[in-house]
C-alpha cells in the first residue's frame, strides 16, 4: 500500500520536473519560460522530498525534508521575481504575440522605482516587444 503511494508521488514529481524542462526548452519568450519553470520545478522537487519523508522511518529526515520544501517554496518566487525584474530592466524583448505590457514606461530608468500614477502612462515609451520569433527563441 505504501509502495503505491510512493510510486504515485514520485511519478507525479518526476513528470512535473520533466514538463518544466520541456517548457524551458519550448516556450517562445524569457518571461514565459520563467513562469513555467519556477512553479513546476518547485512542485516536482516538493513531491520527491515528501516521498523521501514518507520513505525513511525517522523523524529527523521528515523534519529535514519539510525544511527543504519550506525553504524552496519561500525562496523560489523571490529568485524568480528578482531575475524577471533584472531581465525587464536590461531590455529582454517580449514575445512577438504579446498583447499588453502594463509595465511599459512605468519604471524610472535612473532610480528603478515604479511609478503608479496614471498620467505617467501617456509619456511612457512603447513596450519592448520582439519583431520576429527568432529574437526571443
Amino acid at each position: 500500500m505504501i509502495d503505491i503511494v510512493l510510486a504515485l508521488l514520485s511519478t507525479a514529481g518526476a513528470l512535473s520536473i520533466l514538463f518544466a524542462s520541456i517548457g524551458i526548452l519550448r516556450m517562445p519568450d524569457f518571461y514565459l519560460r520563467l513562469s513555467v519553470t519556477v512553479k513546476a520545478s518547485t512542485l516536482g522537487v516538493g513531491l520527491l522530498l515528501i516521498c523521501a519523508a514518507i520513505m525513511f522511518p525517522d523523524v529527523s529526515v521528515t523534519t529535514k525534508a519539510i525544511a527543504i520544501v519550506f525553504f524552496l517554496i519561500i525562496t523560489a518566487p523571490i529568485g524568480a521575481h528578482m531575475i524577471g525584474r533584472a531581465a525587464y530592466f536590461t531590455g529582454t524583448p517580449l514575445w512577438k504575440g504579446t498583447i499588453a505590457d502594463e509595465l511599459a514606461g512605468m519604471y524610472d530608468e535612473e532610480t528603478h522605482t515604479l511609478e503608479s500614477e496614471e498620467e505617467e502612462r501617456d509619456k511612457g515609451d512603447a513596450p519592448n516587444i520582439a519583431e520576429t520569433e527568432e529574437e526571443t527563441k
Binding site: I17, I24, T37, F56, D58, L72, A87
Partner: protein, 91 residues
C-alpha cells in the same frame, strides 16, 4: 512484480536525467544571460530532486544535508546574478 527500487532506478532517475539534458540545451542556447541564469537555477533544483531519489535508493539520509546546501546556493546564486545584471545596466 515490479519492486519500488526497480521503479526508482529504471523510471524516475532516467526521467530526471532527461530533464537535466533538456535544460542543458537551453543553458547552451539561451539568447540572453538571464535565460542561462534561469536554466542554471533549474538544473540545481532538479539536482536536489536527483539527490533525494538517490538518498532513498541508497538508504543514506545524510545526502539530504547536501540538498539543503544546494537549495541555499541556488537561491543565493540567482539573487546575486539578478543584482549584478541589474547593476550592469546602470553603468
Amino acid at each position: 512484480m515490479i519492486t519500488l527500487e526497480a521503479y526508482f532506478d529504471y523510471v524516475i532517475l532516467p526521467i530526471l536525467s532527461i530533464s537535466v539534458m533538456l535544460v542543458f540545451i537551453r543553458l547552451f542556447k539561451g539568447p540572453a544571460v538571464v535565460d542561462r541564469v534561469v536554466a542554471l537555477d533549474l538544473i540545481i533544483t532538479i539536482g536536489i530532486g536527483i539527490i533525494t531519489v538517490y538518498s532513498i535508493r541508497s538508504d543514506q539520509q545524510v545526502f539530504l544535508d547536501v540538498a539543503i546546501i544546494l537549495a541555499l546556493i541556488a537561491f543565493l546564486g540567482t539573487v546575486a546574478f539578478a543584482y549584478y545584471i541589474e547593476k550592469q545596466k546602470d553603468d
